[in-house]
Amino acid sequence: MPAIVTEGVVKTFGKVRALDGLDLEVDEGTVLGLLGPNGAGKTTALRVLTTLLKPDSGRVSVAGIDALARPDEVRRVIGVSGQHAAIDEYLTGRENLVMFAELYQLPRHKARARADELLEQFALEEAADRPVRGYSGGMRRRLDLAGAIVSRPKVLFLDEPTTGLDPRSRNDLWSVIDDLVHLGTTVLLTTQYLEEADELAHQIVVVDHGKAIERGTSDQLKARVGGESLRVVLAQLNQLDAAVAILRRITTDPSNFVVDARLRSINLPVGGIDALTEAVSRFRAADIELLDIALQRPSLDDVFLALTGHTADHGAAQ
């Protein structure tokens, strides 16, 4: 049974169609990554799903509950962490968590125990009894996420959960989310990073202008975008043809070569990191001198370019 379903959800703000017929379906116990540029409608979609916003039309169901008809019941089974940390600055981390737990109707002693558990899980024990005012951005973010899972929700909504986190905190957070999913939680998260969707999401939906423009697993998506590519820059122009001949044997798609004689560069789609080591050793054997060689992963911009024919025009989604 799908844990999250939206059908033809439309939400307008004045002239802006923030959601323009959004269809989503997320299976129980899986992670859906909502990927899109600024203004795509990700936050609006989350606010509709978490009962904060009534859509103009469409159908929304969360954990099998009609979210438009019975929002109160939906709130009991979800956890939410918004795009901006919403915690009380003057309360300590612990006080914030105990408050959230109590508002999820846990009795006081259980609320305290749960707060202790989460503070440990999110490596916030040391700062637990300091007011949040003195927390760093990453600590706030972690506290906010801890608040979202206080009640061990069936369905978890995270809006750009790792924005502003350092790589270590990001990895920690990814493993927390992984653990939750193993315990059966369904997660819908938004992100602007393909890498994050890649790491966490079973399914990815690319949104633009309030609509899903592509959906699939990260492999399927990358296949459409062309996956990873190798960029080679030669030291000498007269070795270009020889280099191209070598690279033809390595590429996954010889028809997609981009050769730039002026820059002495070649771009070609490859299968992964092995292609890079292979290219290096073959070039060495053939005495071809390299200035630079690098494996490039598709970026969000590449996905957009491939899917829409236009780049992710940041912030302009009218």
């Binding site: 606010r47 978490t50 009962t51 904060l52 916003l53 009534k54 109160d72 709130r75 009991r76 979800i78 939410v80 918004g82 901006h84 940390a85 919403a86 915690i87 009380d88 600055e89 003057y90 309360l91 006080e95 408050m99 959230f100 109590e102 508002l103 999820y104 109707q105 007011p131 608040g147």
Partner: protein, 268 residues
């Protein structure tokens, strides 16, 4: 107790505690809330008091009921600032995603502000006694007076809550929450008897809830006489009933209005 009421009380208490913790961390808020009325007592008692004459009673005795009423009215304005701040910081949005009672955030805010008002009132009682104010009634009447004052303070907080949820920023709440209180508290009998006012203004002043509460307090504290509050005029004669009616009217109007505002406030 029925389950809904229990949920409202429980959640309301949790949010009240949160707001009180905030006050504990930033005690300046309460300190400054107390300084302003303190200044008013001193200014009116010593500066204006020398020029204002009320018949049959010392001005300071006349003054205190007015200062009490005005102070809690202004004190309740902090409700709008607190809510606007929570709205701006996304806290209300967060609360709205929780399985908690819809009225709880407002109850928590207004209750904490009531406690704030209580502290300020106690400071004011001390100041009043120092400058020579005395209660000349029985214990029961005096106690009833303070209960009425706090009920009024609580009712005013709900008007303030409505304002705080309606404006778009903390800065606007800071002025919008207070500005309207100047005419409302000064076009009243809080600081001067209404007898000398032009007729139109006097009529407004007489029916003003601030006047009703002030007169009721003067009666309950024994700080009045027949010349100040003539028994032949309805609002004066029935001041206590009128004050209670005002409180009820404000509450039955602004509690549902504010709760409805709260439902939509964060969705803009």
């Amino acid at each position: 107790m029925n389950a809904d009421v229990r949920a409202i009380v429980h959640d309301g208490l949790v949010v009240t505690r949160r707001n009180l913790l905030r006050m504990k961390r930033v005690p300046d808020v309460v300190v400054f809330a107390a300084i302003q009325p303190l200044m008013f007592v001193l200014l009116f008692a010593y500066v204006f008091g020398s020029a204002i004459k009320v018949p049959g009673i010392s001005y300071r005795e006349f003054l205190m009921a007015g200062v009490f009423t005005q102070t809690v009215a202004f004190g309740s304005a902090s409700t709008s600032v607190g809510l606007a701040e929570d709205l701006q910081r996304g806290i209300i949005e967060r609360f709205r995603s929780l399985p908690m009672s819809r009225a709880a955030v407002l109850i928590g805010r207004t209750s904490a502000d009531l406690l704030n008002n209580l502290v300020v009132t106690i400071v004011l009682i001390g100041t009043g006694l120092l400058v020579g104010w005395r209660m000349r009634s029985g214990l029961f009447d005096a106690a009833s007076g303070f209960v009425l004052l706090l009920v009024f303070a609580y009712a005013m907080s709900w008007i303030s809550a409505f304002i705080g949820l309606s404006v778009r920023s903390v800065e606007v709440a800071q002025s919008a929450g207070f500005i309207w209180l100047f005419p409302v508290t000064f076009v009243s009998n809080a600081f001067v008897p209404t007898a000398g006012m032009p007729t139109g203004l006097r009529k407004i002043a007489e029916w003003n809830p601030i006047s009703a509460v002030t007169t009721a307090l003067r009666k309950l504290f024994g700080n009045t006489n027949d010349q100040i509050a003539p028994m032949n005029r309805w609002p004066e004669r029935h001041a206590i009933a009128l004050a209670v009616m005002w409180c009820v009217l404000i509450l039955v109007t602004f509690v549902p209005l504010s709760v409805r505002r709260y439902r939509v406030a964060a969705t803009r």
